[in-house]
C-alpha cells in the first residue's frame, strides 16, 4: 500500500517548549523523524514524552519552538489539520470508538483524506497490522485488548500518514505479541513511513529503532543509536538516579 509517496517528508521539531501554568513540561526539545526511520522516544514517567506527542499533533500549542513536516509548519494548526497534513497517532490507553464496529473504526482513520475505504482495503490494513479479527461488523469494544491495540494501528495507517506516532504500543502485550508488533512496525517503516515510538519496553526499542531520543524533566538529555544510548552516563543516571 502506498503509505507515503506524496508525503515522504521528515517530521522536524525544533526547540519546542511547552509550559502549563508555570510548569515547564517540555524544555527546548528537538527531534527529527526521517521517512522510513524508527525513532525511539524514551524517558522516565513525567519526562514529557506524551507532551511532545500532544504538541506535534496539535492538542497543545508549543509556548515556543517550531514543528514542521517537510516545509509545512504544523505548530499553529488545529488538530484536524495536523492529521490531514500527514500525522497519525495511537494512544497509550487504547482510544478506539468502542461502540463503532471494526470497519467503521478503520474508516474513521480516513477522516484525514477524501474518499472512504472498501471492505477489502480494510481487510488489507487488518492483515498488515496483524489484527486477526475478520468480522468487520463486530464492535471494537468487544475485541480482546491486544486486538484493540492492533486495530488502533490499522486505523492510524488508514490515514496514509507520513509520520506515525505510537504511544507505548506494546503496553499490556505479552512478549510474543510484542515481537509480532515489532515486525509490523518495521514493515510499516520500510514502506516509507517515519515512526516515532514512545516505549518503555527496551527490548523492542533496541530491536527496531534506528535512533533513540531520551527525555528527562522535559529536556533531551541524549540522542543516538540504541547501543550508544545504553552506554550513555546521563541516561543511566536518569533511569537509576533518585
Amino acid at each position: 500500500m502506498a503509505a507515503s509517496g506524496v508525503n515522504a517528508e521528515a517530521l522536524v521539531a525544533e526547540n519546542v517548549t511547552v509550559r502549563y501554568a508555570g510548569v515547564t513540561a517540555l524544555d527546548d526539545a528537538s527531534l527529527r523523524v526521517e521517512p522510513g526511520a524508527i525513532v525511539g522516544l524514551i524517558g522516565p514517567n513525567g519526562a514529557g514524552k506524551t507532551t511532545l506527542i500532544n504538541a506535534i499533533t496539535g492538542v497543545v500549542r508549543p509556548t515556543s519552538g517550531t514543528i514542521a513536516l517537510g516545509t509545512k509548519r504544523l505548530d499553529r494548526l488545529p488538530a484536524h489539520r495536523v492529521a490531514r497534513a500527514g500525522i497519525a497517532r495511537t494512544y497509550q490507553n487504547v482510544r478506539l470508538f468502542a461502540r463503532l464496529d471494526v470497519a467503521d473504526n478503520v474508516r474513521a482513520g480516513a477522516f484525514a483524506r477524501s474518499g472512504t475505504l472498501s471492505d477489502s482495503e480494510i481487510v488489507t490494513l487488518l492483515e498488515r497490522t496483524g489484527t486477526t479479527e475478520r468480522d468487520l461488523r463486530r464492535r471494537a469494544g468487544a475485541l480482546p485488548y491486544g486486538e484493540q491495540r492492533r486495530l488502533e494501528v490499522a486505523r492510524a495507517l488508514a490515514a496514509r500518514p507520513a509520520t506515525l506516532l505510537l504511544d507505548e504500543p506494546a503496553a499490556g502485550m505479552n512478549p510474543a505479541e510484542t515481537i509480532v508488533l515489532g515486525r509490523t512496525i518495521a514493515s510499516v517503516a520500510s514502506s516509507g513511513v517515519g515512526i516515532l515510538l514512545v516505549e518503555h519496553d527496551m527490548s523492542l526499542v533496541a530491536a527496531i529503532c534506528t535512533s533513540v531520543v531520551v527525555l528527562n524533566f522535559g529536556r533531551v538529555i541524549a540522542t543516538g543509536t540504541p547501543q550508544e544510548i545504553a552506554r550513555d552516563p546521563a541516561v543511566i543516571e536518569a533511569y537509576l538516579g533518585t
Binding site: A83, F97, D104, A108, G109, F111
Partner: protein
C-alpha cells in the same frame, strides 16, 4: 374504536418523534441540551405560513422552510454554543445561552407575526383537506397520511445517514470521542454544524406538520411541545435516536387514548404519569445513552 385511536396516536407520535430527535442528536454529540430547539420548531412553522402566503405551493414552502430551519440551527450553534465550546465552558452555560437565543427568536417572531393563532391560507391543502380515506374500519384524512409519510421518510433518511454515510460515521465518532475524532483529521466544527442542521431541520419539519395538523401556528406552540420533547428524550434514554422514536410513539398513543377514554383535561397528566411510571422501572430510559453511537 381502539384501532382508530391507536392510528391517531401513530400520527401524533411520528411528529413528536421528529421533534424529539433534534434534542437527542445534539445531546448525543455535544452532551448539551439545546433549549432553543422549540423556538426553531415555532419559527419554522411561521416561515412556512409566510411562504405559502407569498404564493408558493405547499410542498415547496415546506422544503424551503425546512432548509431555513437547518440554517437557523447552524446560526444557533455559531452564536450560542461555538464560542463557549472554544472556551471549554462545560454544559450548563450553553444551556443558558440557548435559552437566550430562544427568547431572541421568540421576540423576532412576535415582531413579525404578532400574537394569537395564525392559520395557513384557506385552500393551502388543496385536495388533501377534503374527504376521508377509509381503510377497513379506520378513517383518515389525506393530510394525516401525508404527515405520517413525511415524518417516516425523514426518519428513514436520518437512519440511513447515520448508519451508512461518512457523515453518520463522523457524527457517531464525535459523539463517542471528540478529541480522538479530531486527531484523525475530522473537522469537528463542520460535523457539529451539520448535526445542528439535521436536528433543527427535523424539529422545523415537526413544527410545520403540527401547524398543518391543527391548522394553527402561534408563538406559544414551541413551549407547548418543549416539555413533551424533553420528556420523550429522557424516556427514550438521553442520546438515543431509536429510544426517542419509541418514546414519542408511546407518548402519542397515551395522549390519544387518555383523551378518548378518560377526558381531555387529564391528557397531559395521564401522559406524564405513564412516563413517570416507566422511568421508575427504567431510570436511565428505555435505551440508555449510547444507542446514538451504534445507530
Amino acid at each position: 374504536m381502539l384501532a382508530q385511536q391507536l392510528a391517531n396516536g401513530l400520527f401524533l407520535g411520528a411528529v413528536y418523534a421528529l421533534f424529539a430527535i433534534g434534542y437527542t442528536l445534539v445531546f448525543g454529540v455535544l452532551d448539551i441540551l439545546n433549549l432553543a430547539h422549540a423556538a426553531i420548531f415555532m419559527a419554522t412553522a411561521f416561515a412556512a405560513i409566510a411562504l405559502v402566503g407569498a404564493g408558493l405551493p405547499l410542498a415547496l414552502a415546506i422544503a424551503i422552510a425546512v432548509v431555513f430551519a437547518g440554517l437557523l440551527g447552524i446560526a444557533l450553534d455559531r452564536v450560542a454554543f461555538a464560542p463557549l465550546r472554544a472556551r471549554n465552558a462545560g454544559t450548563l452555560v450553553p444551556l443558558i445561552s440557548s435559552i437566550g437565543v430562544a427568547i431572541a427568536i421568540g421576540g423576532v417572531a412576535r415582531g413579525l407575526f404578532g400574537p394569537g393563532e395564525h392559520r395557513f391560507p384557506s385552500g393551502t391543502l388543496g385536495p388533501l383537506g377534503e374527504g376521508r380515506i377509509h381503510l377497513g374500519a379506520l378513517a383518515f384524512s389525506g393530510l394525516d397520511i401525508v404527515i405520517l409519510g413525511v415524518a417516516l421518510a425523514l426518519m428513514g433518511t436520518l437512519a440511513y445517514v447515520m448508519r451508512a454515510t461518512s457523515l453518520g460515521r463522523a457524527i457517531r465518532a464525535v459523539a463517542e470521542d471528540r478529541v480522538a475524532a479530531a486527531l484523525l483529521g475530522l473537522d469537528l466544527e463542520r460535523t457539529i454544524a451539520l448535526t445542528f442542521f439535521i436536528a433543527s431541520a427535523l424539529g422545523g419539519a415537526a413544527g410545520i406538520l403540527i401547524g398543518l395538523q391543527y391548522d394553527s401556528v402561534s408563538l406559544e406552540m414551541g413551549s407547548r411541545i418543549e416539555l413533551k420533547g424533553l420528556a420523550i428524550v429522557i424516556l427514550g434514554g438521553m442520546g438515543s435516536i431509536t429510544g426517542a422514536v419509541i418514546g414519542a410513539f408511546i407518548l402519542g398513543a397515551v395522549e390519544v387514548l387518555s383523551v378518548a377514554y378518560i377526558t381531555s383535561s387529564y391528557r397531559d397528566a395521564v401522559a406524564f404519569g405513564v412516563m413517570f411510571a416507566i422511568l421508575v422501572l427504567r431510570p436511565s430510559g428505555l435505551l440508555g445513552k449510547r444507542a446514538l453511537r451504534t445507530a
